[in-house]
């Protein structure tokens, strides 16, 4: 591990100022991804600003009936929180499907959003990778692509975002609250992560010095009827091949409202708006659910090693919506 300076931030403004003053600095949350990357040589910060003792450790109901989740709330605590379990069950399930008990006790809400891809070529400093070293090429294209993207990728990068939590949050219309050197801004989570394009080294729209302080969930009655379904190579402690977060409201046999997001298939949590539009006002039937999946997946461009994901995701979406609708196949 490269030598680095360590400091504990006293307050949020001080953390941001320390970050702005040092282009080589990084914020440290639970460390479950960053410390590993420092050991691997994937990340080489010159300064770590530990923000885990900042007072962003609460889950609070907001006056408008939504929930504000502090950036430092640990994944295990968020998953267990009564407000989340009652009003946003897909989020609790997504968190519990991720990592292990130990890691969930460490990982923070903000850190979960900022974790980086588990693409094996990104994590191996001996192979070319445009995300790790811009312009060096993509080793995944033409390589081992079982865990790679089928939606929204580019010739420069086909990596996927690994978070489960963020997939549920994107489906549930979350907003990221960010403190910068001059102001606070609110970024819809769906716009927070980027598609790779020709700048795959940039995972998010966050600027150097900006600190995530919270994630806000809106009041969303249909979210009380939501699910997260994850398909993976082993039953526990594995990243998703594909996953679906969905919330569904059916009235008189028709889809009154719906939210859908996919995980494990794109450089960002993939909000499936085309599928949602295909469903609104239509009969809540397996046939219509399949049509919605096909509409969303018509733009899929799988790799030779992950073509199976298209059908797997289609089936997972249909099964998730059927379960939510309480209808048999």
């Amino acid at each position: 591990m490269n030598p680095f300076a360590y400091e504990r931030a006293g307050d949020a403004a001080q953390a941001v100022a320390a970050m702005v003053a040092d282009p080589g600095a990084m914020f440290l949350g639970g460390g479950t991804n960053l410390v590993d990357h420092m050991r691997l040589g994937v990340a080489t910060p010159e300064r770590l600003i530990d923000v885990t003792r900042l007072p962003f450790d609460r889950v609070e109901e907001t006056p408008d009936g939504g929930v504000r989740i502090g950036a430092n709330v640990r994944n295990s605590d968020l998953a267990a929180h009564p407000l989340i379990r009652a009003h946003y069950p897909a989020l609790s399930q997504a968190l519990l499907s991720g990592a292990s008990g130990q890691l969930r006790n460490m990982a923070t809400t903000a850190g979960n959003l900022l974790q980086r891809t588990r693409c094996v070529y990104f994590q191996n400093v001996d192979t070319p990778c445009n995300k790790r070293r811009p312009g060096s090429g993509c080793s995944a294209v033409g390589g081992y692509t079982r865990y790679h993207a089928i939606l929204g990728a580019s010739e420069h990068c086909i990596a996927v975002h690994p978070s489960d939590m963020a997939v549920a949050m994107v489906a549930l219309d979350a907003t990221v609250v960010v403190l910068g050197p001059s102001d606070e801004r609110h970024i819809p989570l769906v716009d927070f992560h980027r598609l790779p394009g020709d700048e795959p080294d940039r995972d998010t729209v966050l600027r150097h010095g900006e600190l995530i302080t919270a994630v806000a969930l809106p009041a969303l009655p249909l979210a009380a009827h939501s699910l997260y379904r994850k398909v993976r190579d082993r039953r526990s402690f594995a990243f998703a091949l594909v996953s679906v977060a969905a919330a569904l409201q059916v009235r008189d046999g028709a889809v009154a409202d719906v939210r859908i997001a996919f995980g494990g298939v794109a450089h960002k949590p993939w909000r499936a708006r085309r599928a949602e539009e295909t469903l609104r006002g239509q009969p809540a039937t397996p046939e219509q659910f399949a049509r919605a999946a096909d509409a969303e997946l018509s733009s899929a461009q799988p790799q030779p090693g992950n073509a199976f994901k298209v059908k797997m995701l289609r089936n997972t979406l249909v099964a998730t919506l059927q379960e939510l609708a309480g209808v048999a196949a």
Binding site: L48, A79, G101, Q102, L103, S236, F237
Partner: protein, 171 residues
């Protein structure tokens, strides 16, 4: 080089000159010579380094020592009271919950943390959301998935943890 105040197994340590790169696991093993906590993968994937920090289980290999200023750490060396084994330790002996033993300290610390989580109603991905946690074999396997055993002693590990959970439920 920074100072660090940390309590390990009830003993307060005032340490000078801790290199920022030191993980909690390396601090325990190399500096405090508590070699019960094991280094397996050093990537948070195997769980051999699991310790309890302020009562919660974490991977000591992914945690920088300096982030634990003021924390109370419990390792496998701190579980027994005099000659009396911790109930989870005793259950591992009783049910032969190991073969080579390398993963065992992590398994036992993780099990203690997991049992406490279940006691507090922590849900799991496979459980129903009824509030009360019933620790059957499937639940134990799901909740212990962060601890690998290369010898494959899982059947007896599950039996040991189940026995402790049952004892608690009956008492």
């Amino acid at each position: 080089m920074d100072a660090l105040h940390i309590a390990v197994n009830g003993v307060a340590h005032d340490l000078e000159e801790v290199d920022a790169r030191t993980t909690l696991l390396d601090l325990l093993r190399e500096r405090l010579h508590l070699t019960g906590s094991k280094k397996g993968c050093d990537h948070g994937q195997c769980g051999a380094c699991t310790v309890l920090v302020n009562g919660r289980r974490i991977n000591a290999c992914l945690s920088l020592a300096l982030t634990h200023e003021g924390d109370a750490v419990t390792t496998i060396e701190g579980l027994a009271v005099d000659e009396a084994l911790h109930p989870v330790q005793a259950a591992f002996v009783e049910h032969d919950g190991f073969q080579c033993g390398y993963c065992t300290p992590g398994q036992i610390c993780s099990a203690i943390g997991m049992l406490d989580e279940a006691r507090h109603g922590q849900p799991s991905y496979i459980g129903s959301d009824a509030g009360h946690v019933e620790l059957d074999a499937a639940e134990i396997r799901e909740r212990m998935s962060g601890n690998l055993c290369r010898c494959g002693a899982y059947v007896n590990i599950v039996a040991a943890i189940r026995a402790v959970a049952r004892q608690e439920a009956e008492s």
